[in-house]
């Protein structure tokens, strides 16, 4: 039995008056990949953003209910969102490197957390890029702009950037949807490697991707979790008719 990293209870999320997430109870386990699937607009991104409170920056958003991250209520008034986000890294749909050099992109996080020593920074950058499976491709041009990289490289850079602050969890919102097949394969490989050390929660539109890389899958529909369980089981014998309809492509 694995440790639970996140557990949500009666989680409801609103944008203004629209209720997007309509009561979700979900426990997410440590050191494995949890995939979230579901048709467009069902609330996958919204749910994900709530786990590291990135949703705070969405105007008029409101979160009701409970989310515990490692036993801590992250919406408790004393909760520290900066620390939370350091522990819970995030990778976005479109690669979003800063308009700085490759080196500075990776060093950005460690710097804010107080690391100034150049040797130490060098070490972190190398380590993170290696963990991000990008080191070999960029080691000779660390000072070039991050924009000079291809889309897939940029995405791995963003993953490496998130790893540089030594997170515990990685949230990924369709990290491959802007990538070509080859880049996608590389990122998938990377994710599979990372799950030994990190807890990964990934939103994807690509059912096959979910099947390939995740251990558990949650199927979202209109703000509800319709089905949540072992990936292998869900893709072979879904319990719910809607799940089956969705994964066989009858809609979405």
């Amino acid at each position: 039995m694995q440790n639970t990293v996140y557990s949500t209870r009666n989680l409801e999320i609103y944008y203004g008056n629209d209720q997007i997430i309509k009561g979700i109870d979900m426990d997410i386990d440590e050191k494995q990949v949890t995939a979230i699937i579901g048709p467009s607009g069902c609330g996958k991104s919204t749910f994900l953003k709530t786990l590291n409170r990135m949703i705070d920056i969405v105007p008029n958003s409101k979160v009701v209910g409970e989310i515990k991250y490692r036993e801590q209520d992250i919406y408790h008034e004393k909760a520290n969102v900066v620390t939370l986000r350091q522990q819970v890294g995030m990778v976005f749909q479109k690669p979003n490197p800063f308009p700085k050099s490759i080196f500075e992109n990776i060093a950005f996080g460690p710097r804010i957390h107080g690391i100034k020593d150049r040797a130490k920074l060098n070490e972190i950058v190398e380590k993170s890029l290696k963990s991000g499976a990008l080191w070999d491709e960029v080691k000779d041009k660390l000072n070039s702009s991050a924009f000079s990289l291809s889309g897939g490289q940029q995405q791995r850079l963003c993953i490496a950037r998130a790893l540089a602050v030594e997170p515990d969890v990685l949230l990924m919102d369709e990290p491959c949807s802007a990538l070509d097949p080859i880049a996608t394969a590389k990122v998938e490989d990377l994710i599979t490697k990372l799950k030994d050390k990190y807890t990964i929660i990934i939103v994807t539109h690509n059912m096959q991707q979910a099947a390939r890389i995740s251990q558990k899958t949650a199927f979202f529909l209109s703000g509800h979790v319709i089905e949540y369980g072992e990936t292998s089981q869900m893709f072979t014998k879904p319990k719910n008719q809607k799940t089956e309809d969705y994964i066989t492509g009858r809609f979405g």
């Binding site: 920056i57 900066v82 986000r85 522990q87 976005f92 800063f98 950005f108 950037r161």
Partner: protein, 280 residues
């Protein structure tokens, strides 16, 4: 040609004609002012003091007055304007405060400059005379600040808006504070846009007359500090044209002003281009 093609041909021809006409008007104004003004411009004209109420001599004090006024106005308006823009775009959520500021900013930007002049006269020149020295560069500058504040706020906000949200998210998701994200990611990217807004507002100050005629005093003497009265080039042009009727000096001053505007526009154009390049 089909009917649709024919009407397209006529319409496009007509529109192109009007556009050309507009272009010609601009050229005509430029050409006229420069052709009458250029011959006046010489080192003496630029560096001498005026005589006979400006109908003789040069325009040196007006140049210096313009520089003083622009510098003072910007020194006060920049922190206020950029600060407000950061607050509006990065911190405030929609709510009464933001709406009030937005309303005030928009209302200010629509008010005619003569009203700013009336206000500046009643408030800075008369009421605050012990502090501002009455008609003075500081009175003019403070009046100018109320005028250009909306320009700076709006353009800076625009510059901040153009910073892709994904970069803010990227930074925040690494566990940075908002202010750190603004300082390290947002402001550096928005900088050319903000600079552009400042230069635009220089143009506004340089070109303004109605507000300054009531607040600067309009003396021909060289200002020594910001508590002295002064006149700007635009004010000088107006006063020379209206009080002395010496159109040559007026056009000479006009030509200098046009060069100034050209310079300002060139610089903004250059900055904007850099901005665009950065994002493509």
């Amino acid at each position: 040609m089909t009917k649709a093609q024919k009407s397209q041909f006529i319409a496009f021809g007509f529109l192109s004609l009007i556009a050309m006409f507009t272009f010609v008007i601009l050229l005509a104004i430029l050409f006229y002012v420069l052709s009458r003004g250029l011959s006046m411009i010489s080192l003496e004209f630029l560096l001498e003091h005026p005589r006979k109420m400006g109908s003789e001599g040069g325009i040196y004090p007006a140049i210096i007055g313009t520089v003083y006024l622009v510098a003072t106005t910007l020194a006060i308006a920049t922190p206020l304007g950029v600060g407000t823009a950061i607050l509006m775009n990065e911190y405030l959520q929609d709510g009464p405060l933001k709406r009030t500021i937005r309303f005030a900013t928009e209302a200010l930007s629509g008010i005619p400059s003569i009203i700013f002049g009336l206000f500046g006269f009643a408030f800075f020149v008369i009421l605050l005379k012990p502090i501002t020295g009455g008609w003075s560069i500081i009175s003019g500058a403070l009046t100018g600040v109320t005028m250009i504040l909306p320009v700076i706020i709006r353009a800076s906000e625009e510059a901040l808006k153009n910073v892709p949200n994904s970069l803010r998210e990227g930074s925040l998701a690494l566990g940075t504070t908002r202010w750190y994200t603004i300082k390290k990611i947002v402001l550096p990217i928005a900088f050319p846009g903000i600079l552009t807004s400042l230069i635009l507002s220089i143009g506004r100050v340089v070109g303004e007359t109605a507000a300054f005629i009531l607040t600067l005093g309009g003396t021909l003497l060289l200002p020594r500090n910001i508590f002295d009265g002064s006149r700007t080039l635009a004010l000088h042009l107006y006063m020379v044209a209206m009080e002395t009727g010496n159109m040559d000096v007026a056009f000479g001053t006009g030509a200098v002003l046009i060069f100034l505007v050209l310079f300002i526009n060139f610089t903004t154009g250059f900055l904007l281009k850099r901005l665009v390049k950065k994002f493509s």
